[in-house]
């Protein structure tokens, strides 16, 4: 290389303006009109944010936004929950990146394991939101609020500790996932309580592990394999049950939850419940049994034809008639049930789309190998179909998350509903509506945006292998 290309002519600001704003007469005209307009609006917005806005309405009520009417004496539960979730998050991220690294190296691809800091940087919208909270919270003089820097700092430390799970040797990689799931359940139950009835989630998780872990392959008899698995599951379930019965420590039920905490929990619960239900509905809709197919189709089409808010109202007023007499469900339980049933119909359609889009040669290859339909579905069809619909699925989760704000209409004080309390306070009776709304909007956006970014990334990473 001896010749060097002539250096590109330096672009001056004037050049930039000419090229981007005044390319020809009409773009010039538009610029002349728009630039001052946008400038003026930016000026007004900034002035509102930093000068005229009455952010006291947010600042003073920060704790209310976060936890709503959750009992003050029990705040330690929320903080403990945050720590445990942070730990679970760290373990999940660490395990996942180690697993990706294993896969990539096996396949002879390079892989750069990101640090936990990079993960946080990717979720900058959440980090920004938390910073915003801290900014407000540090000037909060409401008292008994544990230093928010300690809380957030503690959560970061927990996440960093959890992230060390990437050091687990490959042999026990799945332990990382098991720990993640276990801590998510425990974190949830730190608030909701470890009552005798709370054993179900962990029983499902450990039961599933037991099902997969029993070495039944060596036995030829299908009955024997089935029986061994059943026994393993039963043993595990009984152990979990016994532990819960021994602990039996009640917590704060979700009918007392509120604020952003309630919003996040309701969305997460509805997602966790709606996903398997939607999956089953999608499979039922493709079933060869007409009764099953028709029922699933009718359910899906009816639910999709009715607005969520209608269903939420119906849940409050009608669900009671459908249930056996005397059953009393809290408003939040009914709302969660409705959100789950509603989302399941949409998830079913998304999954069905993924199933339909899959090349039928995949099914045929499984059949030709002598595999029975259930393992073909489980091992060949679903993994591919679900991967293909990740963007649509996360989109559905994001709408569910945002739609949870409708609960404020049925008198549930979640993140948006908390405003009702605030604007009933003497200081903010009919002022600062915009300020509280903007704060809530930023909160929703921070979570929704982070979710959408993560889904894009997940999608990209899973595509690498095809």
């Amino acid at each position: 290389m001896t010749t060097t290309a002539p250096a590109p002519p330096q672009q001056t600001p004037v050049d930039w303006v000419r090229k981007n704003l005044f390319k020809n007469w009409w773009s010039g005209l538009i610029s002349v009109i728009l630039v001052p307009l946008i400038g003026y609006m930016a000026y007004r917005s900034l002035r509102f944010f930093f000068v005229t806005g009455q952010w006291d309405a947010v600042r003073v009520n920060l704790k209310l936004f976060m936890k709503g009417t959750f009992p003050n004496m029990q705040i330690w539960r929320l903080i403990a929950q945050m720590m445990i979730f942070a730990l679970a998050f760290g373990i999940g991220v660490g395990t996942n990146s180690a697993a990706s690294q294993d896969r990539a190296e096996d396949a002879g691809l390079g892989y750069e394991r990101g640090s936990i800091l990079q993960t946080l940087a990717r979720m900058w919208s959440l980090v920004a939101f938390i910073s915003l909270l801290l900014f407000f919270a540090t000037t909060d003089d409401v008292g008994n609020f544990i230093n928010p820097f300690l809380v957030v700092g503690g959560a970061l430390v927990m996440a960093a500790i959890g992230y060390q799970a990437h050091r687990f040797p490959r042999r026990i990689r799945n332990v990382g996932w098991l720990l993640t799931a276990t801590f998510l359940v425990i974190g949830f139950q730190v608030v909701s309580g470890f009552d005798a009835g709370g054993w179900v989630p962990l029983a499902i998780i450990f039961g599933g592990v037991a099902y997969g872990a029993v070495p039944v392959e060596r036995f030829d008899s299908a009955w024997l394999r089935f029986a061994l698995r059943l026994i393993a599951i039963a043993v595990v379930v009984l152990i979990v049950q016994a532990v819960y019965r021994a602990v039996d420590s009640p917590g704060i039920g979700w009918d007392k939850w509120s604020g952003l905490h309630l919003t996040l929990m309701v969305s997460a619960i509805a997602i966790v419940l709606a996903f398997p239900l939607g999956l089953l509905l999608a499979l039922a809709r493709r079933s060869t049994l007409p009764a099953l197919r028709i029922m699933a189709t009718v359910y899906i089409e009816v639910i999709r034809g009715v607005p969520l808010i209608t269903l939420l109202f119906m849940g409050q007023f009608i669900l009671g008639f459908l249930l056996p007499g005397g059953t009393v469900l809290s408003a939040i339980t009914r709302a969660i049930a409705v959100m789950t049933l509603f989302s399941a119909a949409y998830i079913a359609e998304i999954v069905r789309g993924g199933l339909q889009a899959l090349d039928k040669g995949q099914n045929e290859a499984g059949q030709a190998l002598g595999m029975a339909p259930p393992p073909i579905m489980r091992r060949i069809i679903l993994p591919q179909a679900l991967t293909a619909v990740i963007p649509a699925m996360v989109g559905q989760f994001i709408s569910l998350f945002k739609d949870s704000s409708l609960l404020s209409i049925i008198a549930i004080l979640e993140f948006l509903g908390v405003r009702k309390i605030i604007h009933a306070q003497a200081d903010f009776r009919s002022v600062a509506f915009a300020e509280t709304l903007i704060f809530v909007a930023i909160g929703y956006w921070a979570f929704a945006f982070a979710m959408s970014r993560e889904s894009q990334r997940l999608e990209r990473r899973l595509r690498v292998t095809r």
Binding site: V216, R218, G361, E364, A365, R379, T465
Partner: protein, 260 residues
């Protein structure tokens, strides 16, 4: 680790040549009103290699897809290794286990690594232990010449390599019969040979095979009989020798003149 598996990798067939392992009697197949197979009568002996040729739409794929019930025949009898194909799902799966199939478009599972592609069915269907299944898979990859690709994903392999994985995947179920539906027609010319070589070795190892292909070199090298189909009928059957020197039917002559 690998050698002890080798002798029986390509075939369980130990019985003598000539004994019928596949029998089709008066088989008809319709797609709606359209008759895709008409009056098919054909026997395939153990260790026999049959090459099926014919113009596009003549029913070649349909024929071999009926043998492992990817398509359901409407009339007649199909018997594979003594089991008659019926609606009984047990019978169907039994037959599919004994019948490997290789597709034109490979149909590998793109979300699984090569080795997982190969071990999936042995582990799910035959309940082999992970170790046994992987040892066997490695031995098979060795035989098809790509053991170093075991941990890659199908998308990272060339077409020829993918098709060889697909062959290994079928063989992992230790089938008695292998069905090939135009295994080389989706491949670039320079990769056709590597796949044909594997198939030739398979045939020489005594595997019973039905191969839909237009590779006349392959037919000449290993086919015991060539079957020419047109419009759903078997028009002519004979040795490769017969086909290339002395075809009887007008349609056969016309077809051969077009492809040779």
């Amino acid at each position: 680790m690998t050698t002890e598996h080798n002798p029986q990798i390509f075939s369980d067939a130990t019985k003598a040549k000539g004994e019928a392992i596949i029998e089709l009697t008066d088989v008809d197949k319709f797609f709606g009103d359209f008759q895709a197979l008409a009056d098919i009568n054909m026997n395939v002996g153990l260790q026999e290699v049959i090459v099926v040729i014919g113009p596009s739409g003549s029913g070649k794929s349909t024929l071999i897809r009926c043998i492992n019930r990817l398509e359901k025949h409407d009339r007649g009898r199909i018997v594979v290794d003594g089991i008659e194909l019926s609606d009984d799902i047990k019978n169907i799966q039994e037959i599919r286990r004994e019948t490997g199939m290789v597709f034109q478009s490979f149909n590998l599972f793109p979300h699984l690594t090569v080795i997982d592609n190969i071990t999936l069915a042995p582990r799910q269907v035959r309940h082999e232990s992970k170790k046994d299944a992987e040892d066997n898979a490695m031995a098979l990859l060795e035989r098809v010449g790509i053991p170093e690709q075991a941990r890659k994903f199908p998308g990272q392999l060339s077409g020829g390599q993918q098709q060889r994985v697909a062959i290994a995947r079928s063989l992992a179920m230790k089938p008695k019969v292998m069905l090939f539906d135009e295994p080389t027609s989706a491949l670039d010319p320079e990769m056709i040979k590597e796949v044909l070589d594997v198939m030739i070795e398979l045939a020489e190892g005594g595997m019973t095979m039905i191969v839909v292909t237009h590779e006349m070199g392959f037919a000449r090298a290993v086919a015991d009989r060539v079957v020419f189909m047109a419009d759903g009928y078997i028009v002519e059957v004979g040795t490769p020798e017969h086909f290339f020197t002395n075809p009887q039917e007008e349609r056969t002559k016309l077809f051969l003149s077009q492809i040779l």
